[in-house]
Point group: C2
Chain length 237, copies 2
């Protein structure tokens, strides 16, 4: 919650870190959205842009890391504020990986290009991506308001993405079985779907970090983690 008193230099440093996290979040989101768009439209130029953006995102993470170290060394904060700053580092690491997932999807554009992406699968990927990016966006909003209750609610909502991923996974397998010529491109699409599903995992990680920053401890209970596609046996048997 924004404080109403006049800001100290220290508060400004914390706010600087929070602002940089929001910027990183915006770029990581954009990379993932554009990675999927490049994939479904076979847009190699857009894919190349996403790949280049990853260098910027990595640089942002490094800058946040350096600023965090300087802030800790200068201010010597006690446990509560330390959690805040260290939480920033964790969130930055999650966002860096979200960007990597967007880049990995973009890199697969060329491999998939020849066959193109069938309309139905493209819609499935887009839908999954919208859901995952919506969750990422929400958790970044919660990072601004610092509500542990909202963080907890997001943490428990990853199941929807997992269910949709599992259904897409089945569909891709069926498609491969119908015609072996689909196998190569569908394999790449499987990895893309997995990339998108993992964005949801990172949103969940960020929710856990916010919970930790605001309460000082990890959320209770096992999170609803991992998709159920792991244990899916043969689709047609």
């Amino acid at each position: 919650m924004p404080s109403t008193h006049i800001l100290s230099a220290y508060d400004e440093e914390l706010q600087y870190l929070a602002r940089r996290i929001s910027e990183m979040g915006g770029l990581a989101e954009q990379m993932c959205a554009q990675g999927v768009r490049a994939l479904v439209n076979s847009d190699a130029a857009l894919a190349q842009k996403v790949i280049s953006d990853d260098v910027i995102l990595d640089q942002m993470e490094r800058e946040i890391g350096e600023k965090a170290i300087v802030t800790i060394a200068k201010r010597q904060p006690m446990a509560g504020d330390l959690r805040e700053i260290i939480g920033t580092l964790r969130i930055a690491a999650d966002l860096e990986r979200v960007g990597d997932l967007g880049k990995n999807t973009a890199k697969r554009v060329i491999a998939v290009q020849s066959g193109g992406v069938p309309r139905k699968l493209a819609r499935g990927l887009e839908h999954l991506s919208e859901l995952a990016l919506e969750q990422l966006k929400e958790v970044l909003d919660v990072y601004v308001t610092r509500s542990p209750e909202k963080a907890e609610a997001i943490r428990l909502r990853d199941e929807e993405i997992d269910a949709m991923y599992t259904s897409l996974f089945r569909e891709l397998l069926t498609y491969m079985m119908e015609d072996p010529r689909n196998i190569t491109s569908c394999t790449h699409l499987l990895f893309c779907a997995k990339n998108i599903e993992r964005i949801g995992d990172h949103a969940t990680n960020i929710a856990e970090t916010i919970f930790y920053i605001t309460t000082g401890h990890a959320p209770e209970g096992e999170r609803p983690k991992d998709d159920t596609s792991n244990t899916l046996g043969a689709v047609n048997s």
Copy 2:
């Protein structure tokens, strides 16, 4: 390098963190090795053990995180020692994810069980896993000696794993094309291979963290990152 003077309480705290990292590393390695063994032997009991071990690994990461916060708050270290402690947090996060990859492989044992893993593919997976775990073991040894040169050497050696992963990827695709009944189990094996390849990425991350701890800056130049399977087109065309 171990100092010869009498240890201060602070040194002891740093050594405690380093020891816990080694323990985490040992467990994460074991989980990955056992995950692959469970997979190639269709050993559901061993898979279940790996899945349970992940709870312990997560707890270890949390303990390291708490100890690190307490150490920073109590000792108020300057930039050099701060990097050391924050590096510990980063390495713990990488090892936690390595364990997740082992668990994910273990979870796929049931899905793959019915078809079994053909001998040639099993050997490929085992070989890839040995290489990745060797790299992880080496980087954890370098963490003890803190040599930036050795860390840099490991960072540049990820290519071998990537090349082997790409070859296994091709082989799995060929296998799927030969007989569509292989598609489901080979898809799970593809994800397992990707899990193993990602162990190498985490070893590389840890090498970068060691470089950062010892030198105060990130290594120069783009690392040889990501496998080339991303851009593999149709195998049989």
